[in-house]
Symmetry: C2
Subunit: 696 residues, 2 copies
């Protein structure tokens, strides 16, 4: 599955787009679409109206996925596995919506989801000049980083104040361009429908990233405004006929991160340092969660979404690492890099301005190695992987926010800038359940990892453990903190710096204790790694613009992109894999696996088998260029009608992180026809089917 | 579960025995039993006859566990999880004895098990002087190591030639003493009875190393001589009455490795380097096997025993690491070390002879760090963890054997010495099934790990991968080799060096290619790590003998030991955990977990519930000092009668690797009464029950 990969370092542009031109490559900007390619290869004229409609019908889900409006009443379609964060949070020991599914038969039954936000991209503005103007010639990297971040914080704040819209400056082409994205944000999001996990994720981890598939990976939310279903101007209509092999389709969604322009040195860094460390951490988390889950049914329920998420990451990252460990891919990358460097070297102007980019990047990565583990453990993602605990994350945000708020906006860490405060406040005051036993399992494992990665004698480790074993310390912290109580969080949030400084809550004390060291390593990271990488890659991007023009797409940034390609099967080990599966195949696949979990469909699907049209197309593959974060993206035909719903890529698609290929790599979708068939014949959700089809 | 931990580095003596005297501590040598302790604390007089009978009734299983003769007709009792290697090897896609159990109703139905050997310890001889005499003053460590190993190879060869018995020189007290153990070896071992995994390992990984428990972890083999059941003079009789809380019991078995005398520097090395690396490898193997298993029922069957084994290791090692990461345990170790060093420092003679031991060990570990990964990947266990493949292991043994056989016995690597050739030949010609798909999964994962651990540019890595990705290379090797064919192996085995050198089998070529580098790192390891450690620890042991006398027990060495202690419950989080569970508790535990695998007992147990006496004691705990390798050990009463069968330790027992404690740590056994009850009422195995009870 392809929910956004939150851990990817991610940087970079589509060099490949330059060398490969016939393939359906590209995650295109809505303000720089592949007009020419579509016209030439498919004779399709893309119009501004067509684009605007698709853009404003597409949504981004805060939890890390994509979706679309599919009715004028704010109905949002996405994947079950994108909705699983929400399903987990609204489930209890008594009502397990994750396992059993959910269906609101009336609007009154729709359940409000904590922490769930849905964004719609309303406008894009190029602010490159203003951002770049903040950096004065001769500034050292740390000063340049600070100045640039300050300008971005200010642009976002101004925009928010002026328009009321959630505003984000997006770094595109690794710093080649900066665009201001304005989103209409819905934060009253309610759950309408979700099937059982056993059919949404039929085949489970074994079938994840595989094909053929038989998954009804769909869920529906509805956005509300002022307590009523929101009326939306743009939504996608349901296709009556669906698509067939060869038909051109489009995907509008939010690919998370690609790293296609990474230099070879950077890819080697990922292969040798970054990915092995992350996989080590992912594996230990997977096993810690799995052993916790296996101890009781209630544990299993509590850890379900976390466990899915790490298993998904593990499978995705193993695929990426396999790509990096494949000499064939690395030599292709080496050749591409050599060709570009040669082109730059040949032109005196380019050489002078951009010729040192590769060495600059290599040096930054060398410096990164020095602090990699410390940064990773203490500050990665703003929290640090050494503290795998919701309660610690809340404490750290409270501690930092109190300090950051005393600074001018331009000088703050970006995630504490004015434009982000509202979302931050919501996350701190989230009503999502926190389970102490699970917190202890997660925290003790990550503290043990910290001891392993930094060494038992490391000053921070000694302070964090305070003379206890990781297990004892985790139990002490989790049992001792009062941060599970929302009123306590609110007091600390509203009390500002003095409240934080006066607190004796052990988790707050811990966050306070760790913060100076975490800030220190972050500063080194920003000055010696992040900024030099940004500068180096901006040079490479500019060199590319100079050589090839700007009609190229930037690497993915979890912002809205357009991808395209036909429905198309492929050859695997000499065998043709057809593009479609049908509902009947579900039962056959279950039979082949002895109807054993995770190949055991829900009882309802067994009972209703006779009612279903077993020839209904169930899942299909296409060549569209997608990656994690595209989960839940609508697949539309040339008329802009829904024909499917992206939910995965096959195993060969994992390499798309580094390079596009359409030989074997495929995007995997739920067919829109299967969604209707299931709603009507398995779930008796006629009213929902009607809403989708406009009453038909 | 506690099958021998094959990966433990293991070295060292029982310092704790010196400081703690009242607890039931100790894994005692049969030629140096705890006479005084038993007399003083329990008023029990241990006699030479009692000891000899127990010794010769006890057996060691090659696969890494313990057992005992329980009838005059060579019937051997051990754990199901010790027998699982054999069960795996005799199972096929059609006959899954691992899952379904096995019961030979007649002797003709008993199944011969490939690779299964059973050893009975017949005599012990102290050869310390002769081994030490080989090392001349002034020899450097590498020369000393070689001379000592040469003497050992010769002693073993002589003994084997003289007595026909399998002969092993055991290094005790880390080099303080060397004893020659002579075993009668049975290599015609047949499977008599095994229950279903679902009851043998009820609760699975979640309940592993936990208590209370409800497992029928028992299996029976029979040893044959000349095609007939062997007649044995010594076997254990079945207790009529069993034991109750407080009764003294004895455990006679083969604890694998303990590391109780490790210096603090050594424990830190394990905590910081050794254990994290191994856990990283264990976790990746667990996940690779689990994802393979989950893809089909047949895959699950094929990987069952491997998967169990890594899960068991993971849980055990996490427990050990938790001990090492606990400052309480480390400070106790620091205090003990300081006390001993002070005692040595005070005595001029001791100081002169042994005072430098701790620094010598610290230096050896420093040197070990330098080569740790290379040694681990290329040569650990004589094969190298980078080559996780049965076919590669066969190739490497063939390649090495051909070369080693050209050398005089005294100069060979120990595992290729004359006394070991017979067993080696058997392992190379084993008929155990090898599954190509599973081999590819294991090998590609370990080659990927090799690339990660040694670096993509490492000379050996480049040679091993030969320009391919780990996945492609693994597939190429496994699909290309002809070593699955026993006749090919036999030709290479009999053809000697010329056949090996002429072979173009890709796996043989690989083993040949890697061997020089593997031998190089092994030589460094032996000279700079193994020998200095041995010398250092021999000094510490001698210092201990000098200060405390020789009535102490050596660290575990997978050789026969006697442990003792009463059946005894314990307090956990303020709650009394009773020493016994009863059969009725099984059904309650299943109910609490929704009868979901691995908490779902076999159908047979559900059907026969009404026939069973639900109050029959099922599992019990005692304070006996045991560790991995003790699995399958008989538990006997003071009359030497079977009252139970060791199969596990509780979670608190994992720390016994480093230090004994009887506060919470307990050995876990199947009660002999439950075995009889189940044989009679669940399995209709009356003839077996009769054989156990002497016809009663």
């Amino acid at each position: 599955m392809m929910a956004r990969q939150r851990w990817v370092l991610g940087l970079i542009v589509a060099l490949s787009a330059v060398w490969l031109s016939q393939a359906d490559e590209g995650m295109w900007l809505f303000n720089n679409p592949p007009k020419k390619q579509l016209k030439e290869k498919y004779g399709f004229d893309i119009t501004p109206q067509w684009l605007e409609h698709l853009q404003k019908s597409s949504v981004r889900l805060g939890a890390g996925g994509s979706g679309s409006f599919v009715s004028p009443d704010g109905l949002v379609m996405t994947n079950h596995h994108v909705a699983s964060d929400a399903l987990q949070k609204v489930s209890t020991a008594e009502k397990n919506y994750m396992r059993d599914g959910f269906h609101a038969r009336t609007r009154e039954e729709e359940i409000k989801c904590p922490d769930q936000e849905i964004d719609v991209l309303m406008s894009i503005e190029d602010v490159t000049e203003r951002v770049n103007a903040a950096v004065k010639p001769g500034m050292d990297p740390a000063a340049a980083q600070k100045a640039r971040q300050g300008a971005i914080n200010e642009i976002e704040k101004e925009s928010k104040e002026k328009t009321g819209l959630h505003s984000e400056v997006v770094t595109l082409y690794q710093g080649g361009q900066y665009h201001l994205y304005r989103y209409k944000r819905y934060d009253d999001v309610r759950l309408v429908f979700a099937p059982e996990t056993a059919i949404a994720f039929f085949g489970g981890d074994p079938d994840n990233f595989e094909y053929p598939r038989y998954c009804l990976d769909v869920a529906f939310f509805r956005v509300y405004e002022n307590g009523k279903p929101a009326k939306v101007d743009h939504y996608l209509r349901w296709s009556k006929d669906g698509v067939k092999e060869g038909d051109l389709t489009f995907v509008s969604g939010h690919p998370g991160r690609t790293e296609r322009l990474n230099t070879v040195a950077h890819l080697e860094f990922i292969r040798d340092v970054d990915m092995p460390t992350r996989l080590n951490v992912i594996r230990r988390r997977e096993i810690a969660l799995k052993t916790y889950s296996d101890r009781s049914l209630e544990n299993e329920r509590r850890a379900r979404d976390d466990l899915f998420s790490v298993q998904n990451s593990r499978k995705a990252r193993l695929g990426m690492l396999a790509g990096l460990q494949d000499p064939a891919i690395m030599s292709r990358k080496r050749e591409e890099e050599a060709a570009l460097r040669e082109a730059v070297a040949k032109d005196p102007e380019l050489r002078k301005n951009y010729g040192d980019a590769w060495d600059q990047i290599a040096q930054a990565l060398k410096d990164y190695r020095e602090i990699f583990l410390e940064h990773y453990v203490l500050e990665f993602g703003g929290i640090g992987t050494g503290f795998n605990s919701e309660l610690f994350a809340i404490a750290k945000r409270l501690v930092r926010l109190a300090e950051e708020k005393t600074k001018p906006n331009a000088e703050r860490l970006p995630e504490y800038s004015e434009a982000r405060l509202e979302a931050l406040r919501q996350s701190i005051l989230s009503e999502a359940p926190i389970y102490e036993d699970l917190e202890i399992v997660r925290l003790s494992d990550s503290l043990s990892m910290m001891m392993e990665f930094l060494g038992a004698d490391h000053e921070v480790v000694q302070k964090v453990l305070a003379g206890k074993s990781p297990q004892h310390r985790a139990a002490q912290l989790v049992n001792g903190t009062r941060l599970r109580d929302l009123t306590v969080r609110k007091q600390l949030l509203d009390g500002g710096l003095s409240a934080i400084e006066a607190s004796d809550d052990p988790m707050i004390v811990l966050a306070r204790t760790v913060d100076p060291a975490a800030r220190r390593v972050r500063k080194v990271y920003e000055g010696k790694v992040q900024e030099p990488l940004r500068q180096g890659y901006a040079k490479i991007s500019k060199a590319l613009f100079a050589i090839k023009g700007t009609s190229i797409y930037p690497d993915a940034t979890f912002t809205l992109r357009l991808a395209y390609g036909p429905v198309l099967g492929y050859m695997e080990n000499g065998k043709k894999i057809p593009p479609y599966t049908v509902i009947g195949g579900l039962y056959q696949h279950a039979e082949n696996h002895g109807w054993k979990e995770p190949f055991d469909p829900p009882q309802r699907w067994k009972d209703r088998k006779g009612k279903l049209d077993l020839n209904t197309p169930f899942n299909f593959v296409s060549t569209a260029d997608i990656i994690g974060g595209n989960s839940g993206s609508p697949v539309v035909n040339t008329k802009g009608e829904v024909v499917g719903l992206i939910f995965d890529g096959n195993i060969y698609s994992l390499v798309l992180n580094y390079a596009y290929t359409d030989e074997l790599a495929r995007a995997v979708s739920v067919d829109a026809r299967a969604i209707l068939e299931a709603l009507r014949k398995v779930y008796d959700a006629e009213e929902l089917a009607k809403e989708l089809t406009g009453g038909k």
